[in-house]
């Protein structure tokens, strides 16, 4: 995978009605790096992910992906530029089979011609899915659904992946499997934005990290710096 996939967010504000959910958020994500967002529930992490993906209307600011401005573009066009997403709650298609779920990952034009090859690669990478190809996705375990969500995202040939709480609700074994996959994607040069309630594990993976509090960025630095920061240790790591 190539190194392209940088993202710059500049002064981004998003509101639900009158309530400002993001207030002039700026961050920059370098290609090939893992950028972690931490913050409590309701701080605006998922809002930020969805705004970047084009799923929410933007009140203010701009988003530049790979050198081109994508602010306000429809989500399917943004997706087709190689900006993939593994959404909170996995968001698989419960009544569709595992196979159909995977095929839907590759409906965007950029991915169609590679669909067959990537499909084979995904079954190689996630043998559990191969055993369940004709099963409805809704009948899979939480961990299997997360594998499916990741595989479905990879079917779309992304260069940047937005991960929103990928280990939430999974067993410890499954959670570390998810982190192992994210690390491997990073090693392959994928750009990653990671939102995680497991702060220690996600900071350990992070090149850059940002702390989001009630819609504003309050702290940023390298993953290692934030891991050592007393404020982060107290508020998010309970140390």
């Amino acid at each position: 995978m190539s190194g392209a996939g940088s993202l710059i967010v500049e002064g981004l504000s998003v509101a639900y009605g009158d309530a400002l959910a993001l207030d002039h958020v700026s961050l920059s994500v370098r290609a090939g790096e893992v950028t972690t967002l931490i913050g409590t529930n309701g701080a605006g992490k998922t809002t930020l992910i969805r705004a970047i993906a084009g799923l929410l209307p933007i009140r203010h600011g701009q988003i530049v992906y790979d050198g081109q401005e994508i602010t306000g573009r429809p989500s399917h066009r943004i997706c087709d530029l190689g900006l993939g997403q593994v959404a909170e709650g996995r968001q698989v298609f419960p009544s569709l089979s595992v196979r159909e779920n995977l095929l839907m990952g590759a409906v965007i034009p950029r991915a169609r011609s590679l669909a067959n090859a990537t499909y084979a690669a995904m079954l190689e990478l996630f043998p559990r899915l191969r055993e369940r190809l004709t099963q409805a996705a809704g009948t899979l375990s939480g961990g299997e659904q997360q594998m499916l969500a990741i595989a479905r995202c990879l079917m779309g040939q992304p260069r940047l992946i937005l991960f929103d709480e990928p280990s939430l609700g999974l067993s410890p074994a499954m959670a570390s499997e998810v982190f192992r996959i994210i690390r491997r994607l990073k090693d392959q040069g994928m750009t990653i934005i990671l939102v995680e309630q497991n702060v220690a594990a996600s900071l350990a993976l992070a090149d850059q990290a940002y702390v989001l509090e009630t819609g504003r960025i309050t702290l940023s630095g390298t993953g290692q710096t934030l891991l050592r920061d007393p404020r982060v240790r107290e508020a998010y790591l309970g140390l």
Binding site: A53, H76, S95, V107, I108
Partner: protein
Amino acid sequence: MSLSLYAGTLSSGILTGLVYGLAAMGLSVIFGVVRLVNFAHGEMMVLGMFAAVVLAAAWGIDPLLSALPVAALLFVAGYGLQRGLLNRFIDRPDHQQFILLLGIAMILVNGLMMVFGPDARSTNVPYGFDAFFVGGITLDKTRVYAAGGALIVAAALYAFFRFSRTGIAIRACADNQLGAAVVGLDVKGLYAITFGIGSAVVGIAGCLLSLVIDVRPQLAADYTLLSFIIVIVGGLGSMGGALLGGVLIGVSEALAGVLIDPSRKQMVSYGLLILVLLVRPQGLLGKRG
């Protein structure tokens, strides 16, 4: 009454019911995916009927053949309606959508009234009075052809949703709208295609039904209601349920016509609806919500 009369009534009820079922399938597809209750459904069906009447009167085209151009026409109309108008109402409160579609229904039915007047018309096919004789039962040719057409279209629709990429994508939208947006599906575009398909299907059902009934604009509201009843009896979102519901309604109407009084056949449909709502509220083949 003789047994063969019952058998004949039953079979013609089944045949007509299959066409009803096809019409209801269009409604079910639109509701299942776009979550929009198409109050103009019967009006679109009558539009299909009049298109068949005009094509038959002007060029002697068999309604079985006019089903193709009518399907194309109604697909384009339904697609345009969803793209240009309904998509803007998707996130609005339900009653606004209802009023909008009721308005469209009024415009359609009154438009037809202005152009064609209130009198009944028919497609007058050359085989209109021919029949098949099967084991003592007389089956109208028109009814058999209409039912055959309905089954073919229903099978094609099933195959489309089961196997084609667009069909699977539409099911994905119905399944999880956020998930669909996440993988880069153009949800509103797929809504427009779905409304187009639902419209085309009910237009075809209108063409087919024009073989067996006399067509008047005022029928529209009856067919909207009939489609609602069938979808609820069969189970929301179930294509097989729509066909089954259609057959049940078709049969009960036909039997009521013989046993009670043809003008009171609707009473039986509503009775069936109430019974199903009491005993199995999710519909015969519906899943519990």
